[in-house]
Chain length 317, copies 2
DNA sequence: TATATTTGTGTAATTAGTTACATAATTAAT
DNA sequence: ATTAATTATGTAACTAATTACACAAATATA
């Protein structure tokens, strides 16, 4: 079973599970070593109650990090075995106040020896090891609270996927993709307008020949995202960022951001000073992408598109 | 939930379980991040099969450290989902040969990215921590294999209990205990003989007045073990170790060993050179205790006891 | 060669937790 | 003073593993 060495760090979950199981099994046998008839799984609850205090089910659950139904079941078992007594709180009818019975308190005294023996045995192991499992677990708890494993994996996924994405200049053979990708989201959220057809059907004459440009994002050599830069005849703005579209199938690869960055670089290289865009606030991911790229909201301007309800600009530096 | 800090090292089992759960939960979500429709719990099995080999259920179970019913169930699920194909081994009708289907092999290729991302994320965490969880788990696995947690706890228990045991010289008030403890084991394994009654009923006149002595082990001031040293009229031996008895209720506290050691010390102090004892081989714990005390088996000598079928001696140095 | 043991597998029951849902009691908000 | 939201609890169903048991096939043994 050198499985784990073959698989590597990725299997840390499985490995943790197996160690947990080994320790857990022995815990059950250790409880049998002492006269007290406690079940190992009762231990955390028992520990909270051992000084004689009264607690509610949920406060115990919070304290020991279990779900409340788990504590509820454990308490039911301990009551049945005579270790615990329940009583309704007079001032709050929901609360089930739980405390140790005389038998439970007696067990609490007897169990001290077991605590000492187990603690000593665990500390013996920790002393024999070079790497401190206790502290390592503590650190993992902290680090995972700061940023979950899921989020860390997502970040690595994004970076890796980003590297597979290529941003290339528009060529006539991407015309179909340019139209299809844009039509997909426009007709999903709104409906295609006259201006859309003009721009999408005649990208070369309407956009490129007018001093604009288009960038295409390739993933496995497939066009999965597009973005256009339109030359504006306006004293305030040089270019408009428009027709940004990313295939839903290629989400989570940072493609929108990569396209946006690239188009901004192009605009700078062309000597632009200020970019303009218009969009709609129901497209939340798009708006937040524009923010991430540095665009800020500006007051209303007339727009040829019915669907536009927000305008933004970006000062190029 | 500073529960674990309050409880201390003893709670390492619970703490392990919770970390395992946290990691496990995220693992499930991570699998959803990728298009492959694999369940996290399939992972170890899938990993073994991924290179296209054929395996039996039990060989997979051995490799990944699961029970075979667990693998059996996982395989059944993977078959149902089309990732795995089963076929009976022609030369051995018991064997169910298992391998990845075309769909499974396809998933094996796709999953490589996920492996990389997860490995990187885990290594990122390990790099951020001062204490290496991976190596710490590895060490615990090794240390627990050498000596289980159960055995370690048992040892600590024994030491602690030993300290509660007091070995004191015989007094007339222990006469009842001396008789009862011996009668208990004699009548359990054999039956009381004439010589037993004589010695047990008249400990003072038969043992002490003849130049022998008796030691009593007290636990919580209760006599729980006894052992006698009888003066022998023999050119080869000075004393016989006899009437050693420990209450079954006081097992596991090392009492037999403590009594034996003490009686040997007494024999030395009295100027003895060689001890003798007789016993029966069906009393295995007793025989192994005598070995531990240094006694060695000798060739047969006549004995007044029917039940004696082994003789041992100890040279005092 | 007959018989006993070992090996491979599957099914059923158990375990220690979880989520999902229901409901009553209390507290907050309009 | 209602109504809405929150809190405390319990029940039911699920999960991912385990042990216990059954049984057939293969191998070892007398």
């Amino acid at each position: 079973m050198d499985f784990f060495n073959k698989v590597g760090k990725m299997a840390i979950g499985s490995r943790l599970r197996m160690l947990t199981e080994t320790v857990g099994e022995d815990a059950a046998r250790i409880y049998n070593l002492y006269q007290i008839n406690l079940q190992p799984k009762w231990f955390p609850v028992f520990y909270v109650l051992q000084d004689g205090g009264e607690f509610t089910i949920t406060s115990i659950a919070r304290e020991i990090g279990h779900s409340h139904p788990s504590v509820s079941k454990i308490i039911a078992e301990m009551v049945k075995n005579g270790f615990v007594i329940e009583k309704k709180d007079k001032t709050d009818g929901r609360r089930n106040m739980v405390s140790l019975s005389a038998k439970g308190l007696d067990a609490a005294v007897k169990i001290r020896d077991q605590y000492a023996d187990v603690t000593n045995a665990v500390e013996e192991i920790l002393a024999q090891a070079n790497h401190d499992l206790w502290k390592a677990i503590e650190e993992w708890e902290y680090l995972l609270e700061q940023k979950s494993l899921l989020r860390r994996v997502q970040e690595h996924q994004k970076i890796r996927e980003s590297n597979k994405v290529q941003i290339v200049p528009y060529e006539p053979r991407y015309n179909a993709a340019f139209k299809a990708l844009n039509e997909e989201w426009i007709s999903k959220y709104f409906k295609m307008e006259e201006a859309d057809y003009k721009a999408l059907d005649n990208a070369d004459s309407y956009i490129i020949d007018n001093g604009g440009l288009i960038l295409v994002a390739l993933y496995n050599d497939e066009p999965v995202g597009v973005c256009a830069l339109l030359k504006m005849n306006d004293p305030d703005y040089d270019y408009e960022l428009a027709k940004m579209a990313v295939s839903p199938k290629a989400q989570g690869k940072n493609i929108g951001f990569l396209l946006g960055q690239a188009i901004i670089e192009k605009a700078k290289a062309l000597g632009g000073h200020k970019l303009y865009l218009e969009s709609n606030t129901i497209l939340k991911p798009a708006i937040s992408l524009y923010h991430k790229l540095g665009f800020v909201k500006i007051a209303g301007r007339p727009s040829p598109y019915e669907r536009a309800n927000i305008q933004m600009e970006l000062e190029l530096k």
